[in-house]
Symmetry: C2
């Protein structure tokens, strides 16, 4: 592979020969000098070519100049030249004096999208939309976040699992379930790894993590829902309560956001205008009951019984920002009526679960809980929800041969990215969005 | 969370108080002394409780002894006791003198599986099967392998993507495709991230990796096929040929196997009887033509035109082992007739592709190639395969606005684990197998 220097590494490099690979962002094809703005995954640089002069006039037969003139925006090229640091150059204070140009592929000159194109059309041409420097940066940030989490997990004795996405029966509910033809019968797509990550606890794996796709046939068109999304899941045995899970989760977020700030803080400020805030630990915790009361005092009456509505989430976030200077808040102890049958209940108040939601600047990014691991209690809770234990036999069997106390959370990866970068929509930070009307590209 | 010591960490710990969490592997409930073999995710340890003596007879009313007597195999317990190093104890030269026992959950005393249960029934009760120490070890090894790869990728400027598994149309072929109901229409499950990881190259992402599920409606029942499996994928821009991809892949395998040997080598020898072999770099490379000739000289005539049959794969592996003392071999330059339309062809011999398979001890674990990035050539190759360019329009559009030279590979994670641990079947090393007849648990 030929050696290739990234644009971001040019500033620290001494003047001299350099080889770059990238695509043409802009061409200014002037009479005496040609300028190419070359972009790669790390940034933009100016490439210059003064046309050779014959009799004090630019040589109209110069082959390299002619080749440059054929360049369309988007064309991929190899550039060989001389790096020169020059404070007068606006773009990063450096330029590449072109010596040779190799065209890999020429682009169709008419791009289907422009800077002001709507999000929906940009998603049609997502591969072009992603060429924006800030979009390439999003994937570097995603990589840093996931690396920070996995580093934490490995340090803390977690193992990685890959749970199946094909299931014989629904994992959590019959609603929002995708069904497929499976040889002579049918299968369903996993809505979450919930049952399987709990199974891993009964397998004695102790602590597990998984980052993988989940599928919900959710017909809604909000800024934070998709029919396929990446879920970040952990499950941990030998816990005392959901407090242990919250403690792990706040460490994970602290670790990831610290890593992002350190590695990409300057670029994020430059491209997104966002000063990354590393949250202090511990995050504030407020019981749902107290949260509803606080929100009421702020003039909003929460409409949903036992849960926060979107305005309630914004109000509690505002409260926490004012009161604690914090962007995150754990809302805890949701009533059993609004939580799944497998959430454990408080010993001293069985109407409430040992569960939480994590809210970041008004948007929920996680649900977590301690799970009920006692089979008899679990069956009782299944019945109370009006479900048939027979339909959950495979899951209930997991608890028949011994089970440790355990709990975990599921977190939406793109919600974290969206909130970190102050973006309006998960579509902006994902690779390829999937919604009720979108399966392409 | 209460502090919990893992069994594997006991040996290095001084005698004294300790708290363990695990499940009962065995109980020997003797008249004068009770023995519990306690297992956790890291190993087994002996827990002893000499019954208190009254008038030189064991106290029949001792509450702790009575509690121990109720323990069934598989029950999860907290053990508080005193660690004592004692060379006379066969199991690791140490024991825990029990001081307190907390039963988390009692197991049903009759396990549906035993040591000699067939693989199919063990898969029915996979969560119990995984309680074997060597199965817990498999997931630690998987974690180490993936961590080593991701570390390499981050060091080398790769970014992580999560490509969609829901598609509007087939990714590679109409065969072995799962179809699902998608709101008013249909969707298909991705058979590989092939098209999307190439799209990432046209997005300017440079180098990407993804570890995620793929789906094949493959009706076969071999030791190395599944309908859902974890694929390890990379795609790299600015390459000169498939040689660049092979160079990365051998580094990845070298890195992962080195990490496994260092971290788990002793345990693998103990539980699997396997001495982990770290392969030297570079791996041998043999063109398919030469391989067929070598296999012929070894007395086997390859039946498939342009590809190796299973016996051919074994023979070439045997040749490489004898000739180079190596377990791996890259077989290169497959004919265009047996490769997908998007594999690039050799400039000097368009009948052959710039592609390879990687064979480890006779089993293929990867297909890799340089991709054709020139739209006109690509369309020509589509037509030569008898495919309609219209049906591939979304994919072909990726190349319309400029494309870098690029290539990559897809590798089956469980094949790597299976071969590393000398196991007969991917079912043995996976979390939950999915095949034509298996969607449960």
């Amino acid at each position: 592979m030929r050696e290739r220097t990234l644009v971001k590494d040019l500033a620290a490099r001494a003047d001299g020969p350099v080889v770059l690979g990238g695509w043409v962002e802009k061409l200014r094809d002037q009479k005496r000098i040609q300028f190419v703005i070359l972009r790669d995954e790390s940034g933009d640089v100016q490439v210059t070519y003064p046309r050779p002069v014959i009799d004090e006039q630019p040589d109209e037969n110069d082959a390299l100049a002619a080749k440059i003139s054929t360049l369309t925006s988007g064309s991929f090229v190899w550039v060989t030249g001389r790096l020169v640091h020059d404070e007068r150059v606006k773009l990063g204070g450096l330029e590449i004096q072109l010596e040779d140009l190799e065209i890999v592929t020429l682009a169709d000159p008419i791009s289907p999208i422009a800077e002001d194109t709507s999000i929906d059309k940009r998603l049609d041409w997502r591969f072009l939309d992603l060429r924006r420097t800030e979009m390439n940066l999003v994937f570097q940030i995603q990589t840093t976040i996931e690396a920070a989490w996995r580093e934490y997990w490995v340090e803390n004795g977690f193992v990685e699992i890959h749970s199946p996405k094909l299931m014989a029966s629904p994992s959590e509910s019959n609603a929002e379930l995708f069904k497929l033809e499976y040889f002579e019968g049918n299968a369903y797509l996993a809505q979450s790894p919930q049952f399987y990550k709990q199974m891993a606890m009964m397998s004695g794996l102790g602590r597990i993590f998984e980052i993988g796709p989940v599928f919900r046939a959710d017909p809604s068109f909000t800024s934070r829902h998709a029919t396929e999304f990446v879920s970040v899941d952990i499950e941990v045995s030998w816990i005392d309560s959901h407090e242990d899970i919250m403690a792990i989760q706040e460490q994970l977020l602290h670790r990831a956001i610290s890593a992002v700030k350190e590695k990409h803080g300057d670029e994020i400020l430059k491209h997104f205008g966002v000063e990354v805030q590393v949250p202090s630990i511990p995050f504030p915790r407020i019981s749902l009951n107290d949260a509803v009361e606080i929100i009421k005092q702020r003039g909003h009456s929460v409409e949903r019984a036992g849960d926060l509505d979107p305005e309630g989430e914004r109000q509690i976030a505002a409260h926490v920002a004012e009161e604690f200077g914090h962007e995150f808040v754990f809302v805890t102890d949701y009533p059993a009526t609004v939580r799944p049958f497998y959430h454990m209940r408080h010993e001293d108040n069985p109407a409430l679960t040992k569960s939480y939601d994590l809210i970041w600047r008004g948007t929920e990014i996680t649900t977590g809980a301690q799970r009920e691991h006692r089979l008899d209690v679990l069956i009782e809770q299944v019945k109370q929800k009006g479900l048939e234990p027979e339909g959950l036999q495979t899951y209930l069997d997991f608890f028949k041969y011994g089970a440790p106390a355990h709990g975990g959370f599921g977190m939406g990866l793109l919600r974290v990215l969206m909130l970190l970068l102050h973006q309006p929509n998960i579509r902006e930070v994902g690779f390829l969005f999937r919604g009720p009307n979108r399966l392409e590209p």
